[in-house]
Symmetry: C2
């Protein structure tokens, strides 16, 4: 499989995925298209820049049978871009059992010329018993195995190489390994590892629709994180993610492509998408969207319209919103601001806020976050102490060793780097023997000599004018750890702290720091007297 | 003056302002139009739904002189909507002194048929000495007085009634009282009060451009709040506010109209607006905006374009963004979600976050926030305990009196109202003599009998699964006040607390609660044993 990663931030990546019908730049939203009853034309989707669509092989088989094989799926849906086909497994979840065998649907997907194919899976959905989920996972794995056999037979018959080479990329379809298991994490793990070993080159996380419909974003995050940790390199597809709130979350955690019919399903229900949610058309007074649809209609005009026409117009608007959302996420990846983007969005819904808090414990986000970024990072609230760049900085400092006998701690300055400030110059004159460090609640201790490394000199912190909203020791365990570690790992005989409110709170709060004896705590705010005194 | 307020939220309002050339629905962004060198046509502005524009009378006078009087300003700029004219005072700030007298420019504004006129002011800008500011304020007030004399003379000559009646509204222009004083708040107050007494029916806050350019949003907030408290009813215009980050802030604090040339100035500088900031075109890889401009060009195409054409296209895009921003704010007012909207935006920049924290102390926001809203409010973090609906609820409860001898406190339930829950039913069986109350960190104590009043039964709180991010006593002084007040003002002989983590922290943290003797604190998490025990 040819998947070239170009930019990363958190676990997100901008990449190029090669398929028989051209390349897709990921992250990419793949709209669901009905193989025979599609009301928003594939040409419209193409004009919006959607370079891939997904359609349902099972439905195509039911409606068209052999005709689909003769015409090919690209002709059937009138679309010359990348076509992904789902197998019908999801239909089981929605409508009960379906009458098709895994080998049959796999052969059909091959015959109609699909670019990205999914074996017949048995989605576990959400809330299924462990035993039932286990059964579904195993049946999905059996189907996957049977499917790969069909694929191998076809490759052999068509004389296409089965090894991973360029031709494979161009000539054959990409098969997606259908991950099931949902909230049963050991089943999820088993599912991922088995599919990975089978050789699926793209992996697809199934069954999250119910989670998203119930706004259980936390569990969704944990599921994606679980999968991503197991397969950090392979491209990951997420089924059924077509909401402006789930897209940034899914991408940040490592999903590369995702599909949904939401634009149409929501539209049928008069549901209008916007950046931070959805609303019923009848509840809107204004279109706060600048898309071409919203630019020509008023809410009333759309409400007065014939229902079919209205549905199509809302669906088009929804597609504009989804397109914009993906592009905003991509721009945030390139800007190295995806963390900020996700945290801002989190205030759109309490359940989303709960979910993003989990990012604080997702160590895997650090690996793919660039070491250096062009832009300063913005730091607002306790969650930001767990931003990968900030964690990484504290880690670097934890191995910093000083030979000095005196440690002098000074509040971080507004100007950066610290060593180039007037404050530093003043201190160094008085304490030329001291290890001088700046400190702030997020980065912890910042030795002056390395105060220019990223992001020590590249951050902007929201400072509160209100004591109540100021940074409090209790909220910054990482700071206390950083400070204690720095003191413990060096051999200072004396510590002088120019303390601001935050630092005074730290010393009052932490029992270890509280009991240290060789510490002199001075008021930073009255440091004129400090200068006189020393 | 006819200004009809239809909806309010925080200090924001949706209103209808009547002018000689039709009504404007406020809040309304009024784009700056150059009287002779306008490159984005007024017809385009009109097509976007901008029902008012502002142009510069001083520049019109310089370029066109008497010709402008003969043609009328509507013909000059080819716009049949509402035209506001600035007087040239701002040009002094930008280019030094100008050669025009207040009476002359006032007469000119009348003669050209402006709908909303501004007397010649002397902007104090930002950072001016007190003495100089005082001088500028006084000279502006003198000019304002001279202007009103001219207006009166004209009305008399034209036989238009000078009393506030319907005809006045239709027949004559609206004159805006030019508020100066900036960061010198007593001067600002003097300015507002004098203009108010002079009879200006619309008030215009001058000089914030430098504040906004330096992202000093906190001072901007304080300035607007100062003015709004003094004149809560009159419509308020804010000069120079044309940034997606300042618009929600200004509207939330009570500004009804605001003008800016930013769409064009930014465009000349290749600066592209988006919902949470601006970016240089050359720094963008994607257009994450669905507007008609961004829908037809790629970034590269726009960069390769002839500069003049590019400037116009970016300006148009910027106008789409500003239009969308205002509409989003209006929709948030109607939805009663302006607080949420402002707080979400605040994460776009640390300086904005610092500014919105001031909202916690702005008592005047409560008066115009509806008593009841259709939608549940979302509560995320400590700032939200100061949300007007939440403050108001705690105020109501502070006068609640119980005759019961036992107080039982139970964590608030996910389902609402509390009295309809299984938890409540269980408790009431065991404690039919107790005053049963729910509690949560935001609303404080919620007596079961009133647990259906807004927003006790209409809120969704972000719950943390992570102990570290959970609500902490220290962050909720209003909760401690509510609980202490409730206990102090009633005569309970025994208090039983089913404590969750937050409540345990509250009792450990607050010295008063800590020392109470007639309190029994039980674990809520193990309340099965509680049921057995009691």
């Amino acid at each position: 499989l040819c998947f070239e990663v170009r930019y990363t931030d958190l676990a997100a990546r901008i990449g190029i995925l090669e398929t028989p019908h051209g390349n897709i730049e990921t992250p990419s939203f793949i709209p669901v298209v009905h193989p025979v009853k599609q009301s928003v034309s594939t040409q419209f989707l193409k004009s919006l820049g959607f370079k891939a669509v997904i359609t349902n092989a099972y439905i195509a088989l039911q409606y068209l049978g052999n005709k689909a094989k003769t015409k090919g799926i690209h002709d059937v849906i009138d679309y010359d871009g990348v076509i992904m086909t789902d197998s019908g497994g999801y239909q089981v979840l929605e409508y009960g059992s379906i009458e098709v065998e895994p080998r049959e649907i796999a052969q059909f997907e091959i015959d109609i010329g699909s670019d990205i194919c999914v074996p017949l899976d048995k989605p576990t959905g959400f809330g299924l018993s462990y035993a039932k989920s286990e059964d579904f996972v195993n049946r999905t794995l059996e189907n996957a195995k049977a499917t790969l056999e069909i694929v191998a037979e076809n490759k052999k018959a068509r004389n296409i190489g089965t090894n991973k080479n360029k031709e494979n990329c161009v000539g054959g379809a990409i098969w997606a390994g259908p991950i099931q298991g949902s909230e049963h994490f050991d089943l999820l793990e088993h599912s991922v590892q088995t599919l990975d070993k089978m050789g699926f080159e793209l992996m697809a996380i199934g069954s999250p629709v119910e989670l998203m419909e119930s706004y259980n974003f936390s569990l969704l995050c944990q599921m994606i994180a679980k999968v991503k940790r197991l397969i950090p390199a392979k491209p990951i597809h997420l089924f059924g993610a077509g909401h402006p709130l789930t897209i940034p979350l899914a991408v940040a955690l490592g999903c590369d492509t995702f599909d949904s019919a939401s634009y149409m399903l929501y539209a049928r229900d008069n549901r209008y998408m916007y950046g931070t949610g959805t609303a019923r058309l009848e509840d809107l007074s204004y279109f706060s969207c600048p898309c071409p649809i919203c630019s020509i209609y008023t809410v009333k005009e759309l409400l007065d319209m014939d229902q079919n026409k209205r549905t199509i117009e809302i669906a088009k608007h929804n597609l504009y919103v989804l397109k914009a959302e993906v592009l905003a996420v991509k721009q945030a990846i390139k800007d190295g601001r995806l963390w900020e983007y996700v945290m801002l969005k989190a205030r759109a819904h309490p359940k989303l806020m709960e979910a993003v808090e989990l990012f604080s414990g997702f160590e895997f986000l650090e690996k793919s976050t660039p070491i250096f970024k062009d832009k300063a990072i913005f730091l607002y609230s306790p969650i930001d102490q767990f931003r990968p760049e900030v964690k990484r900085f504290r880690k670097i400092i934890s191995s910093f060793r000083s030979k000095k006998k005196i440690l002098l701690l000074h509040p971080d300055t507004g100007l950066h780097p610290f060593y180039s400030t007037k404050e530093f110059t003043n201190i160094v004159k008085k304490f030329n023997n001291a290890q001088i460090c700046a400190y702030n609640p997020f980065l912890g201790v910042i030795p002056a000599e390395v105060s220019d490394i990223y992001p020590a000199a590249h951050n902007l912190i929201a400072q509160s004018s209100n004591i109540f909203f100021g940074h409090q020791a209790k909220d910054y365990p990482s700071f206390i750890e950083s400070l204690n570690g720095f003191i413990a790992k060096n051999n200072f005989e004396e510590i002088i702290v120019l303390a601001n409110n935050f630092m005074r709170d730290v010393f009052a709060f932490d029992p270890v720091l509280n009991k240290m004896i060789n510490i002199k705590i001075l008021d930073h705010e009255s440091d004129i007297s400090f200068r006189l005194r020393t």
